[in-house]
């Protein structure tokens, strides 16, 4: 057998085996003949028309020379179908397109409608492709493309281009010329921007559409005919007046959806498609950081698919330059490669978190867009990435800074990375990955250390850690130890936030670090302790949300600088830049102001709403509109004064919810309540019981609570939790009029500041005791506040509420547990303190202050930051000595510290 014959046989055999076309390489491997030779013979066979060739990379060959897809194309495997399979929003247009092509006897003319960049010309080409595949037109049928906008200024020239012209028809028509319509005979004429045709041109087009006849411009005798399928396209709205005649005369209307109308899965497919196109062009696989893909998925892309494509091309080009310049191992798209407007897409993550998570959940932080068609994209090894985690953070920080991103945006982007890291290890660790699999990857020393850390933390924090956290921590420590041994720095961008928000976890991590120090003979840096604390704290994944979860404060006033000055004073006094100002100069149009406000509200919202503090006029009506338009909870306080801004801001920083802040500001300030009018003006207390149906368990719980509490003042409201968001809305609504004392439910619910009691606890009785305690405490504070009215000049009811807030914040941030009765004492102490300072009283001397300050500087700083707002609100200065008294009171009574002493 000759060599060429042998190759031909091998091709047929292999083709049958794998049931598709095969490459030269595959044949080379199968029969052990040099690939270059195989390739040479295959090409010879192709030239002899013995086999067929499919262009691509790699080039594939198959034995069947005839068009193999001719029949199957009509229903199932055409280029149009392949799009429809992936892009659900394209299904209707594609069905219409197929019908237009296959409609007997010669198909029907089509008008494609869609915004700029939705892919109208691409779609027209696909229709042409399909017509060929289905045999509706012959293989070499022409496809002529013409953009009517090109000649729109000269209508005669335009018409002559399409229909041809007779010499002398107009000045400059110096010879007979054939029109495009004749050139397209037997095939397609694609007329883009068809609405730009002059009325005369339109009439000629419609005549052709109706009768298949046309007359070149200036020719009165000759009527020509052509067999041409017209595909017209326009960006005009379907209802537009311009299009009226077109939509009446062209039988098939196909509307292509814009990018916004397509879901994220489709958009992801498009992104993938375009990056792969680039990858083929470059001839190398392209990697992309997950964040960049998220940005591409979410950024505002008004010019649709066309823009998406060019933005992707631009980005790939930039990444390619980096790859070349830095002699990197691979082409990696990072957020610094993205155009600014694309990068903004990352900011949208909050709103699309769920769908993004769903879409990308199986992807690692770096996604590969493979050059190789077979494995469309694969994930880079996870474990390896873990080691790179710190690098990612660091590199990210650098590159984002260099790219001129604002701090706020950087923090966001980095957050996503940290989140991804923890999601990966805590959320998505597959069940099949047992510790024993892990031991192959990670040495036993680290495994043991991770175990010890968790064992310690379990005891210390009274919490159970599951396998997932164990595995996650072990993987994390593996990366950490390697890094520290190499002497590379560790950086935690959110260290302070972790320290403040998870004091318990942080303290435990600090001690746990000693285990690591001993085992590995290293010194664990504080930044790393921050990471460990994230593992030890409850719900570590939600940290970023928690950190940002403060009600936004937006101050808007008439005048050039009124709002700014108010916000400035407030921020300076509280020490946090939380109040944001928008000035409204008298000359400014309220509409402009509204847009500015909208932008700010969107920017400020972290899921807990935004409070508008305004003076008067049109500003007072913004809130409602903003809420309707943005879907963000917006409340407005009118006639705002500086103390109100301070009060609102202080409460927001203490992460109070919007209703609470709103109510507390709205309540008129009454300084001296006379003895007689001491009626309870506050909200009535309620308890919520909840279950999935709102009828079964929750009714039962209500019943039990009513029986055992026997109180008439407390209303018990059963609710359903079919939909968590609705439930939370309902609770927020109830909060407007009531103080929610507790939620008892069969399902775990955590809403800030509302004590949660499980159904089991209620049934066992401990829950009922807990509620009784809550009721008693509430009652006590009410009584105390009322009786204090007689003794102090300040409005005692408000003061007591304020102090309870501050105390709770201090307790939380210091990581203490303080008994309720002791808290009453501390609140009293602070009441008298403020009253004394307000009356001009002197500070009480704290003995050995210097020693105390030295020993407890960290705790004092926390106490000070909590008290600052209070001092500002009541316009008094709480001095060092007084701070020390309060600090000692807290620390000495706090349970955790007491145990240590």
């Amino acid at each position: 057998m000759k060599a060429v014959e042998q190759i031909y046989q091998a091709l047929i055999m292999l083709e049958q085996k794998v049931n598709r076309a095969v490459s030269a390489n595959e044949i080379s491997l199968a029969i052990n003949v040099d690939r270059a030779n195989v390739s040479r013979y295959l090409n010879r066979l192709y030239e002899e028309k013995k086999i067929a060739k499919l262009e691509g990379r790699p080039v594939l060959f198959h034995s069947d020379k005839s068009e193999p897809q001719q029949i199957s194309a009509i229903d199932g495997d055409s280029s149009l179908d392949r799009i429809a399979a992936i892009q659900s929003s394209m299904q209707t247009p594609i069905q219409q397109a197929k019908a237009a092509i296959l409609y007997p006897p010669k198909g029907i003319h089509t008008l494609i409608l869609g915004e700029t960049g939705v892919g109208k010309s691409m779609f027209a080409e696909l229709m042409y492709q399909f017509a060929k595949e289905s045999g509706a037109v012959r293989e070499n049928a022409p496809f002529i493309r013409f953009n009517c906008a090109d000649y729109a200024e000269n209508s005669q020239l335009l018409v002559s281009q399409i229909f041809g012209v007779k010499k002398g028809a107009y000045t400059g028509a110096d010879k007979d010329r054939e029109g495009l319509i004749s050139k397209a005979d037997g095939g397609f004429l694609f007329l883009d921007e068809v609405h730009r045709l002059s009325p005369q041109g339109q009439e000629m087009l419609f005549t052709f559409i109706d009768k298949g006849l046309f007359r070149p411009l200036g020719d009165t005798e000759k009527t020509l005919s052509a067999e041409v399928r017209i595909i017209a396209a326009t960006t005009e709205q379907p209802q537009s007046y311009l299009l009226n005649t077109f939509t009446r005369r062209i039988p098939m209307l196909i509307e292509l959806p814009n990018l916004k109308a397509r879901d994220l899965t489709e958009r992801y497919y498009l992104i993938e498609l375009f990056i792969k196109q680039e990858s083929r062009r470059i001839g190398k696989s392209i990697y992309a950081e997950k964040n960049s893909i998220i940005a591409f998925l979410l950024y505002d892309c008004p010019n649709n698919i066309g823009q998406l494509k060019s933005d992707i091309q631009l980005t790939c080009a930039k990444s390619f330059v980096n790859y070349k310049a830095k002699k990197a191992d691979s082409i990696l798209i990072t957020s610094s490669d993205l155009p600014q407007h694309v990068r903004k897409g990352m900011m949208q993550i909050q709103e699309h978190r769920d769908s993004i998570e769903f879409l990308l959940k199986s992807k690692s932080p770096t996604i590969k867009f493979s050059l190789n068609q077979e494995q469309s994209y694969e994930e880079v090894n996870d474990i390896q990435l873990n080691e790179d985690f710190y690098d990612i953070i660091e590199r990210k920080l650098e590159s984002l800074k260099n790219s001129g991103m604002k701090n706020e945006e950087i923090s966001y982007a980095i957050n996503l990375d940290i989140e991804a890291h923890f999601k990966k290890y805590l959320g998505d660790i597959p069940n099949r990955m047992q510790s024993k699999d892990l031991s192959k990857l990670i040495n036993s020393e680290i495994m043991t250390a991770a175990e010890e850390v968790l064992k310690f933390a379990e005891q210390r924090l009274q919490r159970k850690y599951d396998e997932k956290i164990y595995i996650g921590l072990a993987l994390h420590l593996h990366g950490f130890v390697e890094r520290i041994k190499k002497g590379v720095k560790i950086y935690h961008p959110k260290l302070n936030m972790i320290r403040v928000d998870y004091p318990e976890g942080f303290m435990a991590a600090m001690e746990a670090a000693k285990i690591l120090d001993g085992t590995f003979n290293i010194h664990t840096p504080l930044d790393e302790i921050g990471y460990i604390a994230m593992f030890l704290s409850p719900k570590p994944v939600e940290i970023s949300r928690h950190e940002k979860s403060c009600v936004g404060i937006l101050v808007m006033m008439h005048g050039n600088s009124t709002a700014s000055s108010m916000a400035e004073v407030c921020n300076a006094m509280i020490g946090v830049n939380h109040a944001i100002a928008l000035d409204m100069p008298i000359s400014m149009n309220p509409k402009v102001m509204y847009e500015l406000a909208k932008e700010k509200v969107i920017q400020l919202d972290t899921g807990r709403g935004v409070l508008l503090l305004v003076d008067m006029g049109s500003l007072t009506s913004f809130g409602q509109m903003l809420q309707e338009e943005t879907g963000i909870m917006v409340k407005t306080i009118e006639m705002t004064s500086t103390p109100m801004v301070i009060d609102a801001c202080r409460k927001a920083v203490l992460s109070r919810d919007i209703h609470y802040i709103y109510d507390s500001l709205r309540t008129p300030v009454v300084h001296h309540v006379s003895e007689g009018s001491q009626e309870q003006t506050g909200k009535t207390g309620i308890i919520i019981t909840a279950c999935f149906t709102g009828e079964g368990a929750s009714e039962r719980l209500k019943h039990i609570l009513e029986e055992s509490l026997r109180t008439e003042n407390i209303e018990i409201v059963p609710l359903n939790i079919m939909n968590k968001r609705e439930f939370i809305n309902k609770v927020e609504q109830l909060r407007e009029k009531h103080k929610i004392l507790a939620i008892a439910s069969t399902i775990d619910i955590e809403i800030d500041e509302i004590p949660f009691i499980t159904a089991a606890q209620v049934l066992a009785g401990s829950g009922i005791d807990k509620i009784k305690d809550i009721l008693e405490t509430e009652g006590n504070y009410q009584k105390i506040a009322k009786s204090l009215n007689k003794h102090i000049k300040l409005d005692s009811e408000r003061l007591v509420e304020n102090l309870r807030d501050v105390l709770a914040a201090m307790e939380h941030r210091l990581g203490l547990y303080i008994k309720e009765e002791v808290k009453i004492g501390i609140v009293l102490h602070m009441c008298f303190l403020l009253d004394k300072l307000k009356a001009g009283g002197k500070e009480t001397f704290f003995e050995e202050l210097q020693d105390f300050v030295k020993q407890y500087s960290k705790e004092l700083a926390i106490v000070r930051s909590c008290l600052e707002g209070l001092g500002a609100q009541y316009e008094v200065r709480i001095g060092e000595h007084e701070e020390a008294y309060i600090c000692r009171m807290l620390l000495s009574n706090g349970d955790i510290l007491q145990e240590i002493v």
Partner: protein, 103 residues
């Protein structure tokens, strides 16, 4: 003549309570010397007293002071927080007298 000592952290909040207690004592015909001292001065002022009462916010002193004073026959207790909060002199004097009676 009973001697009652109240202890709080800075001696600020208790002074008001002392006055209320004195009024209440007078009404009930109890002869009592009632003083308030801050935590740091507690030691010097407890000699020869009949009872020591702690403000709730200095509850942490309870064990230490009990150890020191109970052998001398001086009862030590924390003031009921609600009575403290409402500055209920009458109730606190009652609590003090109970303690003295039962010692």
């Amino acid at each position: 003549m009973e001697k009652i000592v109240l202890v709080c952290s800075a001696g600020m909040s208790t002074s008001l309570l002392v006055n209320k207690m004195k009024d209440a004592a007078k009404k009930q015909g109890i002869e009592a010397e009632i003083i308030a001292v801050p935590e740091v001065d507690a030691k010097q002022n407890t000699n020869g007293t009949d009872v020591v009462l702690l403000a709730p916010q200095v509850r942490y002193l309870l064990n230490k002071m009990k150890q020191e004073l109970e052998p001398q026959g001086i009862p030590v207790a924390v003031i009921e927080s609600i009575n403290y909060g409402m500055m209920n002199g009458e109730a606190v004097i009652r609590q003090a007298m109970e303690l003295i009676k039962n010692k």
